[in-house]
């Protein structure tokens, strides 16, 4: 499952999919931090995520912290039911800004 990055109205949209586990979390982490380092707002599309565990969550938390530290945003969009369940378990569903789709996320930032 490869990740895709595109730009939408000045925001970087990163689409993650498949199983984000201990095997893939380091790659996802690197990719998210690279995006955050570009000093643009980042939208992470989680619609195709079939599994995410504590290591995947940790990568997203680290990217959020980095973005917050740099004064840019990192928002989650179209979070799959499997992923949402895990964010809720970790009580991180209130820590991240979660939007139903990219348009809603853009409307919230513009």
């Amino acid at each position: 499952m490869t990740e895709s990055i595109r730009e939408v109205r000045g925001h970087l949209v990163v689409a993650l999919g498949g199983d984000i586990d201990l095997d893939r979390a380091p790659t996802v982490r690197r990719q998210l931090l690279d995006c955050v380092n570009r000093q643009q707002d980042v939208l992470v599309d989680l619609s195709a995520v079939t599994y995410i565990d504590s290591s995947g969550i940790a990568s997203l938390v680290e990217a959020l912290q980095r973005a917050t530290g740099r004064g840019t945003g990192l928002r989650l969009v179209a979070v799959s039911p499997q992923a949402l369940r895990v964010f809720e378990l970790a009580r991180l569903d209130k820590v991240f800004s979660i939007h139903s789709d990219i348009d809603a996320a853009l409307a919230a930032t513009d």
Binding site: D19, D21, L22, D23, Y51, D53, S54, S55, I57, A58, S59, V61, E62, L64, Q65, Q82, R85, V86, L89, A90, R91, L92, V95
Partner: protein, 144 residues
């Protein structure tokens, strides 16, 4: 624990390597369906076992790989029993505790998830004296 009336469903042995865990997850999902759990609960059980295996890879074998993970699954009348065994050095059960949730700190979530998702989770030495065992149970009818 009713382990006496429980039926052996399977015993799975895999190398403790992160890239292999997808096969463990697929096996656990299938076993959870066999025990009669719905897809959502099956996914919860998969996550708990995934976290337990991640702990074996990271802590029992400290990322060195090589060592095996043993997964035993039993089907009891009222619950599913899952045991994750490693063959790493003895760990004091008190060392394996869910940490308090710190909103923005990465890590430390695995044991918390396991306790939140399962009806019981007990860490101890293997009855054979070799290795650590995390025994988890999930009730079939949450009302019981």
């Amino acid at each position: 624990m009713n382990a006496n009336t429980a039926e052996y469903l399977l015993e799975l042995r895999v190398p403790a390597r992160a890239d292999r865990m997808v096969v463990v997850r697929d096996t656990v999902r299938s076993a959870a369906r066999f025990c009669g759990f719905d897809e959502r609960t099956a996914q919860d059980i998969v996550l708990a076992v995934g976290e337990a295996c991640q702990n074996v890879i990271l802590h029992a074998y400290e990322g060195r790989g090589g060592g095996p993970i043993l997964l035993d699954i039993l089907d009891d009348a009222d619950r599913m029993i899952l045991r994750v065994t490693d063959f790493g050095p003895a760990v004091a059960p008190t060392a394996v505790q869910p940490r308090a949730l710190h909103d923005l700190r990465p890590g430390g979530l695995g044991t918390y998830f396991i306790h939140a998702l399962m009806d019981s989770a007990d860490f101890g030495r293997s009855p054979t004296g070799v290795g650590n065992v995390l025994q988890m149970t999930k009730k079939k009818d949450p009302a019981i």
